[in-house]
C-alpha cells in the first residue's frame, strides 16, 4: 500500500518467480529420478513449475493453469511432438528353458519387465531375475516366445499411455466446470437483480436487536448465500449491511471487530456447504469423478452442512469470547424491495428450479452438470443476463480449475502422484493420522496459497494413494478428498488466505492479530471437527 515499504520494483518479484519456475521445469529433464517414468519426469517438471508459479505468482494463477495445459498438450499428448508416431521398441524373449528367458538388459527395470500390448501400451510384469549382465536371464511363467516385450524400459511410452490432447482441452468444459458456470450465472443474476440483498434483508429480520444475535444472523445468512454465490461477492454484499452498523458503534467497542470479521469467516465456511460454493470443491469432485466416484449435489450438502453449522457456531462462540460487545441493542434498517420486473421473475424461477433439481439429484438421477445447463441456456435465452453480463463472469476461475483438473490427470496417469507419495510407507499409519496429516497440510498451505491451488496439488496425491492401495485397508478416497477439501476452505489465518479476508482487512476495522486469533481457533476446531466427522459421520453417508 505505501510505496515507501515496497521499494522492490515489481519486476524483481516476477523475474525471481519465472527463474525459479524455469529451474523447476528443467530439473527433471536433467536429473534422473528413480522409479519415475519418462512421462513422469515431464509431469514432474510441469508440476514443479506450476507449483512455483502458483506460489510466487510471477504470472496470474489462471495463466499458470493455461500454461500447464499448453505444456501437457505439447509434451504429454498423443498428438504432441514427443509421442506422435512413437511406438514402443519391442523384442522377443529368447527361451532358455522352461519359463526361463533371456532378454536384453535394457528390458529389465529392477525386477520388472514390460509387456508390449500395443504400440503405445505396455504392462508391467514382475519376474524372477536369475542372472544379470548384458543380457539378463529371468524366470516367468507369464510370457512365451511370442510375447512382445518392450526392449527399453526407459522408453517414454513405458508406464504411460499418452492421452489425446482433447482430453486436456476438455477439462475446460468438464461437467464440473459447467456446473460452476451455471452457478456463476445464477449468482450474476442474483447480484444484477439484487436478489442477494433482498433475501438478506428478509432473512435478517428475525434476528432481533441484540448484537450477538445480529452477528449470528449475519453469519448464517452469509454462509447460506456463499454456498451458492462466490464467497467474495457475498462478503462484499454483506459488508454493505455490516458497515453501517459498525459505523454507529463507537471505535473502542469490540463489536466493530466482530462485525467486520464474522462475515469473511462465515463466507469461507459457508462455501463448503455445496459443490458450487467454492472452486476447491470443484477439484475434489472432478478428481473423484475421474475415478468413477460421484457425489450427488444433495449428498454433498448432507455431508457438509452439519460441519458448516458446527464451525459457524464455534466461530461465533469464539468471537463472542474474544470481542465482547459493549453496545446493548441495535436497530437494523432492513428494507427489501424485490424486483418485480419480468426478467427478475424469470431469474427467481430459474434459480429456484435449478437449486431444486440440484438438491434432489440423488432422487431423480439427472446429473447436476446437466441441470446446470438449464440456467446457462435459460438466463441468456430470456435476456436475464446480457452479453455484457456474460463477459463479466469470472471465466478465469473456471480456467484455474480446469488447469488444476488437467494437472491432476497427468499426475495420475504418468505415475507421478504415486511416485511422490511412495517414499513413505503410509500403511504404517492409522487412517486417522493420515487424515490429520492431509488435513493439516491442506490447512497450512492454503493459508498462504490459493485454496484452489492447494487442492490442485494435494488431491492427486490422495487419489493416487487410493488407487495404488499403498495406504492400506480402510483408506477411503472420498473421505480423504473431502478432508483435504475442507482443510483448504478453513484457512482463515491471514488477510492473504482468502479474498474475503482481504476485503474485511481493508475496511480498517480489524487488526491482523484479531484475524489470526480467530483463524487459529477455527483452524484447530476445524481440523478436529473434520476428523470427528470423517471418523464417525461420513462413513455412514458414503456407500
Amino acid at each position: 500500500m505505501s510505496t515507501k515499504k515496497d521499494r522492490l520494483p515489481e519486476w524483481t518479484k516476477t523475474a525471481v518467480g519465472l527463474v525459479l519456475g524455469g529451474i523447476g521445469f528443467i530439473l527433471p529433464l536433467i536429473v534422473q529420478f528413480d522409479g519415475l517414468t519418462f512421462a513422469g519426469h515431464l509431469a514432474l517438471g510441469i508440476f514443479l513449475m506450476a507449483a512455483v508459479f502458483w506460489m510466487l505468482e510471477p504470472i496470474p494463477i489462471y495463466s499458470t493453469s493455461m500454461l500447464v495445459i499448453l505444456l501437457q498438450v505439447i509434451l504429454l499428448s498423443t498428438q504432441g511432438p514427443l509421442f506422435k508416431d512413437s511406438s514402443l521398441p519391442q523384442t522377443q524373449p529368447i527361451e532358455i528353458s522352461e519359463h526361463v528367458w533371456q532378454l536384453p538388459a535394457t528390458a529389465l527395470d529392477g525386477t520388472t519387465i514390460h509387456l508390449r500390448k500395443r504400440a503405445t501400451v505396455s504392462e508391467a510384469l514382475e519376474v524372477e531375475v536369475l542372472e544379470r549382465g548384458e543380457m539378463v536371464i529371468v524366470r516367468s511363467e507369464n510370457i512365451n516366445a511370442a510375447s512382445s516385450i518392450v526392449a527399453d524400459y526407459r522408453h517414454k511410452l513405458v508406464g504411460y499411455e499418452p492421452v489425446s490432447y482433447t482430453r486436456f482441452f476438455g477439462t475446460l468444459a468438464s461437467p464440473i466446470i459447467i456446473l460452476f458456470l451455471g452457478g456463476f450465472m445464477l449468482a450474476a443474476g442474483a447480484v444484477k437483480y439484487n436478489l442477494d440483498k433482498n433475501i438478506t434483508n428478509v432473512l435478517l429480520k428475525p434476528f432481533g436487536t441484540k448484537p450477538m444475535f445480529i452477528v449470528l444472523g449475519l453469519m448464517l445468512v452469509t454462509a447460506t448465500l456463499s454456498a451458492f454465490m462466490s464467497n467474495t461477492a457475498t462478503t462484499a454484499m454483506m459488508m454493505t449491511v455490516a458497515i453501517p452498523i459498525a459505523m454507529q458503534v463507537s471505535k473502542e467497542d469490540k463489536f466493530r471487530i466482530m462485525l467486520a470479521l464474522c462475515i469473511p469467516i462465515a463466507a469461507n465456511i459457508g462455501g463448503m456447504a455445496t459443490p458450487i460454493g467454492t472452486p476447491p470443491n470443484a477439484i475434489v469432485i472432478a478428481a473423484l469423478n475421474a475415478q468413477g466416484l460421484g457425489i450427488a449435489f444433495g449428498s454433498w450438502m448432507a455431508i457438509m452442512v452439519p460441519l458448516v453449522i458446527l464451525l459457524l457456531l464455534a466461530a461465533w462462540g469464539t468471537m463472542r469470547v474474544l470481542f465482547p460487545p459493549t453496545v446493548e441493542t441495535f436497530k437494523l434498517k432492513l428494507e427489501s424491495a424485490f424486483d418485480r420486473s419480468g426478467k427478475a421473475i424469470m431469474l427467481y424461477i430459474l434459480f429456484g428450479m435449478t437449486v431444486l433439481l440440484w438438491v434432489t439429484e440423488a432422487q431423480h438421477g439427472i446429473p447436476s452438470g446437466m441441470v446446470a445447463f438449464l440456467p446457462i441456456a435459460g438466463l441468456t435465452v430470456t435476456s436475464v443476463l446480457s452479453k455484457e453480463d456474460v463477459r463479466s463472469l469470472p471465466w478465469e476461475v473456471l480456467w484455474l480449475v480446469a488447469g488444476g483438473i488437467a494437472l491432476g490427470i497427468s499426475m495420475e496417469n504418468t505415475g507421478l502422484a504415486i511416485w511422490l507419495v511412495s517414499t513413505i510407507s503410509w500403511d504404517m499409519f492409522p487412517q486417522l493420522v493420515l487424515l490429520l496429516v492431509f488435513g493439516f497440510v491442506a490447512l497450512m498451505l492454503s493459508n498462504f496459497l490459493s485454496n484452489t491451488v492447494t487442492a490442485t496439488l494435494l488431491i492427486p496425491l490422495a487419489i493416487s494413494m487410493g488407487t495404488s492401495g499403498i495406504a492400506g485397508e480402510g483408506f477411503s478416497l472420498v473421505i480423504t478428498s473431502l478432508v483435504i477439501g475442507a482443510g483448504c476452505n478453513m484457512a482463515m489465518l491471514l488477510p492473504i488466505s482468502t479474498p474475503p479476508n482481504a476485503i474485511a482487512m481493508s475496511t480498517g476495522f480489524i487488526k491482523t492479530p484479531d484475524m489470526v486469533k480467530v483463524g487459529f481457533v477455527i483452524g484447530i476446531v476445524g481440523i478436529l471437527s473434520v476428523l470427528a466427522f470423517a471418523a464417525l459421520y461420513w462413513p455412514l453417508m458414503i456407500d
Partner: protein, 165 residues
C-alpha cells in the same frame, strides 16, 4: 499499485494550511501536495505524471495571481492525465459566469464556498476520492479504509473484479 495524490492549490498560505489540515485524515493513503499558484500546481502535476502516479482530487481556489482556479481546472480537464481527476472548487469569490464555465468546460465535480465546514469538506473529499477509486482502480482494497467503505464494497459486489480462488 500507483499512488493517488490530492492536490491543493491556494495562494494564501494560512488558508492552505487549514485546508491541508482538514484533509489530513486522508493523508496516509492519499498524500497531499500543496501549491500556491497554478504554475506550481503544473510543476507538481508533471512530477506526479513522471513518477507514474495519479491525481485523484484537486482542491482549488479561484482568485489567485496568474492563472485563475477555474482556468486551471479547464486546462486540467483538457489534459488526458488529469482528465479523470475529481475537481473541487473551494472559493469565496467566483462569479456566476466563472462557475458556469467551470461546470461546463472543466466538468467541475463540487463547489464549496468559503468559509467551509471542515467536516463537510472532508466528507466531500472522501466521497469524490471514492468515486475516483471505483472508476479508475482495479484493486480498490488498499484505499478502502479511509474512503466510503459501503460504496466500495458495493462496487466490489457489482463489478465482480475480485473472484474466489
Amino acid at each position: 499499485m500507483s499512488q493517488i495524490y490530492i492536490l491543493c492549490v491556494e495562494d494564501e498560505p494560512e488558508v492552505l494550511d487549514v485546508v491541508v489540515r482538514d484533509l489530513s485524515e486522508l493523508e496516509e493513503v492519499f498524500p497531499i501536495e500543496m501549491a500556491v499558484n497554478a504554475e506550481e500546481a503544473w510543476d507538481i502535476i508533471k512530477e506526479i505524471k513522471q513518477r507514474g502516479d495519479k491525481i485523484g482530487l484537486a482542491v482549488c481556489d479561484h482568485v489567485m495571481p496568474g492563472q485563475k482556479g477555474v482556468e486551471l481546472m479547464i486546462e486540467m480537464q483538457k489534459d488526458p492525465f488529469t482528465q479523470r481527476t475529481r475537481k473541487l472548487l473551494l472559493t469565496g469569490q467566483a462569479g456566476l459566469d466563472a462557475t458556469i464555465e467551470a461546470v461546463n468546460k472543466a466538468k467541475l465535480n463540487r463547489y464549496i464556498s468559503k468559509p467551509w465546514d471542515p467536516v463537510e469538506l472532508l466528507r466531500i473529499a472522501r466521497d469524490e476520492l471514492t468515486t475516483f477509486v471505483i472508476e479508475q482502480e482495479k484493486d480498490m482494497l488498499p484505499y478502502m479504509a479511509v474512503l466510503d467503505i459501503e460504496r466500495i464494497q458495493e462496487a466490489i459486489r457489482t463489478k465482480g473484479t475480485i473472484s474466489d480462488y
